[in-house]
């Protein structure tokens, strides 16, 4: 028996990737950071080669377009120089050098300029829209997390009650409907059929003529415009929190330490908050951070339905205008926000759960 276990653990270490990457890999923070950098690098490389080397590449198309637009006044070289300026790539260099200089520019936050106007840098385009997406997604998720956690805990405590059945069935139904269909249903019923919401006035991220500032008017206006995206993010994610919290609580309730706490005569409230709730919510905190990242990435359709001027809508207009540098920049930016969120989740988890730090890495 003992030899079998020993043999098993030996095979496990041989299979373990950490062995080959030395001690640095073993540290959860280092692991998470390496993973994050790797992901950003892959996205960058993927977009570079897709844009540069695809048959009928956007760069060549742009060069042709520039020549045609000038009525033949531009030579191929001049047009190529213009295009390379737009893409922040030096087209005359060999591909590997182009790639290196592209990465170099990226490290200096130079993502090129928009195709539509040479004076607009891609970075400024992104900075104008990213806060709106982060704000609406963040608020929506925070609300759904708080509500979902409380509802899930309550449902688990009143297992098989009417509330439990309603919460778990409702949760699984609403979380399996695609979020953009929820958005369409909101527009359809509340906006058009019942005319309860002024859908067209709620478009955009704020009303025209509104000046940013910490005034009540401004905050109210921002919330008015963000209300629909926020409610969609809320509805689309709450089911997941209810279901996960419910099953995590049920599992925690069966743990020995809960029985021990009961035997010690601790109050029900203390057991619920400090023992059951705390342990059940732990894995969900990381999911929360990961979800923020993914919903920022998935916001494009929601924002286009509500015409909310966030990063997703900007991406779609860049797609229709074939504004490749902006597309590329937004892809990079969303990847970075997803990666940073995941990284934060990993770090948070090892902070919240001391067992993880010692076991070496928050995986899964």
């Amino acid at each position: 028996m003992t030899t079998a276990v020993a043999a098993k653990s030996q095979v496990r270490t041989a299979m373990n990737p950490r062995r080959y990457l030395g001690d640095a890999w073993r540290h959860p923070v280092a692991r998470a950071v390496i993973k994050a950098v790797l992901t950003i690098w892959v996205t960058t490389t993927l977009t570079f080669f897709l844009i540069r080397l695809m048959p009928g590449s956007p760069v060549e198309l742009k060069i042709d377009e520039l020549i045609t637009a000038s009525g033949g006044a531009l030579s191929y070289e001049e047009a190529a120089a213009l295009a390379s300026n737009l893409f922040a790539i030096d087209l005359s260099a060999p591909v590997h050098e182009q790639y290196l200089s592209f990465v170099w520019n990226l490290l200096h936050l130079d993502l090129g300029t928009s195709f539509l106007s040479q004076s607009t840098s891609v970075i400024s385009v992104i900075l104008a829209v990213l806060p709106w997406t982060l704000f609406s997604v963040g608020v929506g998720l925070l609300l759904s997390f708080t509500a979902g956690i409380s509802l899930g805990l309550l449902a688990a405590y009143r297992r098989n009650s009417l509330l439990d059945h309603l919460a778990s069935t409702g949760g699984s139904i609403i979380s399996s409907i695609p979020n953009y269909l929820l958005a369409l249903l909101i527009v359809l019923f509340f906006g058009i059929q019942l005319r309860l919401l002024p859908i067209t006035q709620m478009r955009g991220s704020m009303s025209p003529g509104m000046h940013p500032g910490f005034t009540l008017d401004f905050i109210g206006d921002v919330l008015f415009h963000a209300a629909l995206p926020i409610s969609v993010y809320f509805l689309a994610t709450i089911g997941h929190w209810v279901l996960s919290m419910r099953s995590a609580t049920l599992a925690a309730l069966e743990e020995d330490y809960v029985t021990a706490a009961r035997a010690r005569g601790l109050s029900d409230g203390r057991i619920r908050n400090a023992y059951v709730g705390r342990n059940a919510v732990l894995p969900l905190v990381t999911q929360f951070a990961i979800n923020i990242g993914f919903i920022v990435g998935g916001a494009a359709i929601i924002e286009s339905i509500f015409v909310y001027q966030g990063i997703g809508l900007r991406l779609l207009s860049a797609v229709t205008q074939r504004d490749y540098p902006v597309m590329q920049g937004i892809l990079l930016m969303t990847t970075i926000s997803v990666v940073v969120a995941t990284l934060a989740a990993d770090l948070l988890y090892s902070k919240l759960d001391p067992r993880i730090g010692r076991a070496g890495g928050a995986s899964g």
Binding site: M15, L50, T334
Partner: protein
């Protein structure tokens, strides 16, 4: 000689075995009304999308006199912005969507099985490399990558679309398969097969994979759900230049023809929404029932 002949089951025995497993599975499923509902829903939509078009003639001639009419005997779900029958479009519009979803799930499962078993059996640097790629794909903002890739590649056929979708979805199954193989490696029956010198191929495909059926089936269903979500999403955004009718294109028109803003167009918009939502619901219900069946530890929760 005869021993070999006895060891190989006849076709009749195989069918009997298949029937027994199916019956067993249905019996387990029938105790979970949600799973049964899911299965019925999926079978219904498969029938609607692949069998019904053989019996219902395609009607796509515009009828300007009957734009957005309410449901009637002639048009059970009303008509669209050109006066075409909505029910007819729902019947004809499911095939492509479901086909892409199935293909994407199939491709992603194949990628995951192939590279998952390679990573687990070879180990070492290959394993590290495959795991690194997997981690990266798991972290990508899939919808944004999909939008950008679709805008650059402009998928013209559904197979290309399915391949792109599959390339974004294999990662989680690969991790499961890899860790399963790593733990199954130590089991006695794999040891026995190894000492009989049955070969790596036999060990992986005949001994190990059947034991991972549950993971693979559940992943397949979840991958279909994800592929449908992403696919309908980018069709809705108008990023896939495909012609014809499907539920996604109906939604695209609903948004872009302004159909959404006519009060009497509700049936035209609600029909594809309901069709997509019901397929998704059925898939999710079946997957969660299967998880319940395959993972007895969770039973009764």
């Amino acid at each position: 000689m005869t021993a070999v002949a006895i060891a190989r089951p006849t076709i009749g025995e195989r069918l009997a075995h298949l029937w027994a497993t199916t019956a067993d599975f249905l019996r387990l499923l029938s105790r979970r009304p949600i799973g049964l509902l899911g299965l019925i829903g999926i079978l219904f939509f498969l029938f609607l999308a692949f069998v019904a078009p053989m019996f219902v003639p395609l009607q796509n001639t515009p009828d300007i006199g009957a734009i957005y009419v309410s449901p009637s005997w002639d048009h059970p779900l009303g008509t669209d912005f050109q006066g075409r029958d909505v029910l007819n479009q729902i019947v004809y519009g499911g095939r492509d969507i479901l086909l892409v979803a199935v293909l994407a799930a199939l491709f992603s499962t194949l990628i995951a099985i192939t590279f998952g078993s390679i990573a687990a059996t070879l180990g070492g640097k290959v394993d590290t490399a495959i795991l690194a790629v997997t981690d990266v794909v798991l972290t990508l903002p899939q919808l944004i990558v999909l939008i950008v890739v679709a805008a650059i590649v402009r998928p013209q056929t559904f197979v290309v679309l399915a391949v792109i979708l599959a390339l974004l979805q294999w990662a989680s199954l690969l991790r499961q398969i890899r860790s399963q193989i790593l733990s199954l490696k130590e089991r006695d029956y794999v040891e026995a097969a190894r000492s009989l010198d049955l070969g790596l191929f036999h060990i992986i495909f005949r001994e190990m994979l059947p034991n991972m059926r549950s993971y693979i089936v559940i992943h397949f269903i979840q991958a279909m759900t994800a592929a449908m979500y992403a696919q309908v999403g980018i069709i809705f955004l108008g990023l896939v230049p495909v012609s014809g009718t499907n539920w996604g294109i109906m939604l695209y028109f609903a948004q872009n023809q302004g159909a959404l803003f006519f009060r009497n167009s509700i049936w035209y918009i609600l029909s594809p929404i309901l069709a997509i939502a019901l397929v998704q619901l059925s898939l999710v219900f079946l997957a969660s029932a299967l998880e319940d069946i395959f993972n007895p530890r969770l039973r009764g929760r």
